[in-house]
Symmetry: C2
Subunit: 252 residues, 2 copies
């Protein structure tokens, strides 16, 4: 019943073209990076990651609205950093206050997406090197009919399952069936709104995976090939790696 | 019954000190690295990775025998690269021909470990920056009573389980219970020998995880904290990362 309702809404919207909004989650403290500033403002090659991420979204050419979730006291500054020509029009750039958790930040940002947006991307600013082509592919997959799309890459490590204290191996998952999920993830807007409403009703507050919330609604989540460049900058090592790859001309 | 027999053998050996052999798997083609030479000879900071790995094993101060599995036609060259003062004595350095698979290489190398070795490490040359302290910790854990020890690190990515074609999410494993396994892995020698014999009897030829083989015997595999530096060099990006971290003074 849910699925049918969405399909009808989609068909109607589709007749007038598709509007895409991208939520950029940039509210992290950057604690694990240990550089003494909020994550959004951490620089790679002299450019703050939130700016790099916004540039890639603009370069994809398929996103009309950018909604950035940033720490409240940084809102104005982050707004200036993301003020790109692609988002120059009325309502094209919105900065909302990030929540205490990623889930709260995405929820808040969802209220900042325009009602006419049919497709909503959720993207981590910390994956600022996700290529514009990947962003366009996620949008294309949603436009082609998917309710939810995640980019993902194969797992290269041998994984084991451990017991509660983490001191003994209790199993070996089949890694050929596992993928590491990246962002941007793409959703038909109503699906993402419903998933977050359902999460809030359940009392969830700290969901880190939007596609996971959508799956709990019984909605099928499609997987497309991710990109090596879409790695997440979390640790000081990630930051060094990004600087090194950028210096070597391997990242834009 | 199996466990009891091992314990008795161990107690006897323990009275005369513990001898440790390290199998260094360096038989890979290096195809995925795309540098046009066997993986063992790929250089980081001007030093072949097999030499770097051997140096770290020597620096651990806890390994008396090094058994390197290398491509047959490279045996002499690899032997010279691994000829370190720590392995200067009689039978302290052996180079064996690598097999067609990792499992065959380890099996072949096992026959090259001296009978008096109580503890056998299995280490990938491609993890050449695994710190000497980690190598020592693995040995210490086996000496403290474990039959099998693997170093492992938390999984940072959000993982999903996909269907057979890899196009749809079918599950979300609990990543808090997952670890990415590294090397060196440490074993009481007889446990590893028995695990490989059992694998061969089953017809397995391409097992990539020694601890997994040991677990199939019903032997408990202990997990200790791995090290970020023990990452595996597999792709050109890994190689660039290694060069960059080395240049930045973050690797020895």
């Amino acid at each position: 019943m849910y699925a049918a309702a969405v399909i009808v809404a989609w068909a109607v919207a589709g007749s007038g073209g598709v509007t895409v909004a991208c939520i950029l989650v940039a509210a992290g403290t950057g604690e694990r990076l240990g550089v003494g500033r909020p994550k959004a403002l951490v620089e790679v090659g002299g450019t703050p990651i939130v700016r790099r991420a916004a540039e890639a979204v603009a370069a994809s050419g398929v996103v009309q609205h950018l909604v950035v979730a940033a720490p409240t006291w940084l809102g104005n500054h982050v707004g200036r950093l993301c003020a790109l020509p692609a988002f120059d029009g009325r309502d094209q750039l919105v900065v909302v206050s990030g929540g205490l958790t990623r889930q709260q930040s995405v929820e808040g940002a969802l209220t900042g997406t325009p009602a006419e947006a049919d497709v909503v991307l959720v993207h981590d600013a910390a994956r600022c090197f996700a290529p514009p082509a990947l962003i366009a592919q996620v949008v294309a997959a949603v436009r082609a009919g998917a309710y939810a799309v995640v980019p993902a890459v194969p797992v290269v490590d041998t994984l084991v399952e451990v017991d509660e204290p983490g001191s003994t191996v209790v199993g070996t998952p089949d890694r050929s069936r596992l993928r590491a999920v990246q962002t941007p993830q793409g959703f038909r807007r109503q699906v993402l709104v419903d998933a977050h409403l359902a999460a809030t009703r359940r009392g969830d507050q700290d969901a880190t995976d939007d596609a996971g919330l959508v799956r709990r609604l019984g909605v099928k989540v499609h997987v497309i090939h991710g990109a090596d460049e879409a790695f997440k900058i979390t640790t000081p090592q990630d930051l060094e790696r990004a600087e090194a790859l950028l210096a070597a001309g391997r990242l834009r």
